[in-house]
Amino acid sequence: MKATNKKRRLWSLNQSGDILAITGIIILTVISIMAIAAPLFSSWGPKQIDFSAFLSAPTANHWFGTDGNGMDVWSRILYGARIDLSIGISSVVIAVLVGSTIGSIAGYFGGWMDAIVMRLTDIVQAFPPFILALTVAAMFGRDIGQLVLAISLVFMPAYIRLMRSEIRALRQRSFIEAAECAGNTHMRILVRHLIPNATRPILVIAPLNCGWAILTLAGLSFLGLGIPIPEAEWGAMISAGAADVIGGRWWTSVFPGLILFISVLGFNLIGEGFLERSGQRS
């Protein structure tokens, strides 16, 4: 495989994986820009009440209508992106950092440390992911920090295991023996030789998990366990609006659901693209 080959692979869009990933990145970039520059796109604040328009249908003033609190749905969607995206991403980032650190140490040193870590992950993994998030969130509370921890706790065992098995597989490779022969310390072998080679599968699944984290957050909010009112958060918006659908007031939950769907799709597209490129199975 020559350098030119490599280059072509990086930039060619022939592979459908790249197209998927780039579509996903575009979607998320657009949503992020709109979230960051939200005041430019909406004249209403996310918690601003329009006392003259409770549950108003979409109008020129309120593009996506207002909800039962008289708040503008469109601007809540925009500001909601800040919370949803940042919680989704930060919980995965925490899970990746903590999980891969623990996993690489357990995988590298093995022995009793490994055994204990594995039994602990067994315990955490004895729950379906959403149920775990639900239980932890219901028991701990509804602060943003606690929610991030609850969601990242769900992912952590997977990253621990993934990193551990990657490290263990890499340990069998002769370049690690070579590194040992070259007089590297354990720390240096781990940091310089093992971890850089073990990150790829983790990076591949991280976007998928980001999407899942956002869905989880929204699901918790839907059950009333997520971010409390009046913060703008998509899941809570859908939940609050779900009851309004009865009277035909569909806009309060259909629009937030749509944006939630699109952003999760964005993450999933990136993840699927990465998966395809790395030729791995889920």
């Binding site: 459908s16 039994r119 602990l120 067994d122 315990i123 004895a126 729950f127 379906p128 992911p129 959403f130 149920i131 998030a133 639900l134 239980t135 219901a138 028991m139 701990f140 509370g141 999407g211 869905l215 929204a218 699901g219 839907f222 059950l223 899941g235 859908i238 939940s239 779900a242 659908v245 569909w250 939950s253 259909v254 659901g257 939630l260 769907f261 699109i262 999760v264 799709l265 993450f267 999933n268 597209l269 699927e272 998966l275 199975r281 889920s282």
Partner: protein, 336 residues
């Protein structure tokens, strides 16, 4: 013999996990804020009254004693008594669990069938429009918030088209059914109550579709990847080059081998469905296990929370045990 070894090994691992789960849960709910006793004593109660109630529920004893007491009950099938409702937890579980399992079971079946169809079609026609569209469909399904999707389905199929029954409960309100197992469709078949069966299936339609579509993607992706791998494997190419008919090739050389990675993934998907079912049940007023547990969690009903956690964990671990066994049956190479 090989399977017996497998099951034995897994059980060996399962029991410490369950004990660990119960210990962690037991300790956590007692450490965290929220006191179930305050929720049931009258507000006229003095500190002594509260203490007395606490003693009545045995919550004053050292946590280790409480744990021992609870676990020795569990071993005998006694999951304690709900602090809130005063009913035996086991009884409430018997009532609630079948509802959820029925929903999740059909949902899983639905997503499995969809995944098998689309997965194999995709694998046999990689890069073709049918491949792209079924993958996009799966990806989109995977990105849907299930509770929202359920709402949209209700809006369309019940609100506009009128094809679906009202999203309330598991069966028409005008239909009587004798409860045998708690599984609505099963009970209808056992008692030969065909109108109940039709009604139950009708009510299952939308929630099952919701779960099926949402959970399909990972299984489809795996089947597709695995089938493509098999189709490109030298094992398959060898058989194909030796002139076997395509039907025989699919049955004997593609199907089984492609399904090997599925059981373990299926276990994960099943878990996701159990999680998702909490949300979907909420939308369809299903009155299932998850909602029961949620109420227990919010009201800090210790025996309910403990039992929920233990049952879910036990159930989930058993799902994976089954998955492992199925995988071992499918793939003779797996050793333990």
């Amino acid at each position: 013999m090989r399977l017996a070894t497998l099951i034995f090994r897994r059980l060996q691992r399962l029991i410490p996990v369950l004990i660990g789960v119960s210990v962690v849960c037991f300790a956590l709910i007692r450490v965290l804020p929220g006191d179930p006793i305050l929720l049931i004593v009258p507000e006229t109660a003095t500190a002594e009254d509260i203490e007395r109630t606490r003693i009545r529920y045995g919550l004053d004893r050292p946590i280790v004693v409480q744990y021992w007491d609870y676990m020795s009950g569990v071993v005998q099938g006694d999951f304690g008594t709900s602090i809130q409702t005063n009913r035996p937890v086991a009884e409430e579980v018997r009532e609630r669990l079948p509802r959820t399992l029925e929903l999740v079971g059909y949902g899983f079946l639905c997503s499995l069938l969809l995944a098998l169809c689309f997965g194999f079609i995709s694998a046999y026609r990689p890069g073709k429009p049918i491949d792209h569209s079924s993958r996009m469909l799966a990806l989109a399904g995977n990105s849907l918030p299930e509770f929202w999707f359920a709402l949209i389905l209700i809006l369309v199929f019940f609100g506009f088209l009128g094809w679906a029954p009202p999203p309330i409960g598991r069966i028409g309100t005008d239909i009587d059914i004798i409860r045998v197992t708690g599984f609505m469709t099963l009970d209808a078949i056992i008692t030969g109550n065909w109108s109940a069966l039709v009604s139950a299936l009708h009510h299952l339609m939308l929630p099952v579709l919701t779960l099926g579509i949402v959970a399909m993607a990972p299984m489809m992706r795996t089947i597709r990847a695995s089938a493509m791998e098999v189709l490109n494997s030298s094992g398959y190419r060898c058989a194909a080059s030796h002139g076997l008919s395509s039907g025989r090739l699919f049955r004997n050389y593609v199907l089984r081998e492609s399904l090997v990675p599925l059981p373990v993934l299926g276990g994960l998907v099943f878990g996701n469905l159990i999680g998702g079912s909490v949300l979907v049940e909420y939308v369809f007023s299903w009155q299932g296990f998850g909602q029961w547990a949620l109420r227990g969690l919010l009201l800090r009903d210790y025996p309910v929370i403990q039992s929920f956690v233990l049952i879910i964990a036990g159930f989930y671990v058993v799902i994976f045990l089954i998955a492992d066994v199925v995988q071992a049956i499918l793939d003779p190479r797996i050793k333990f």
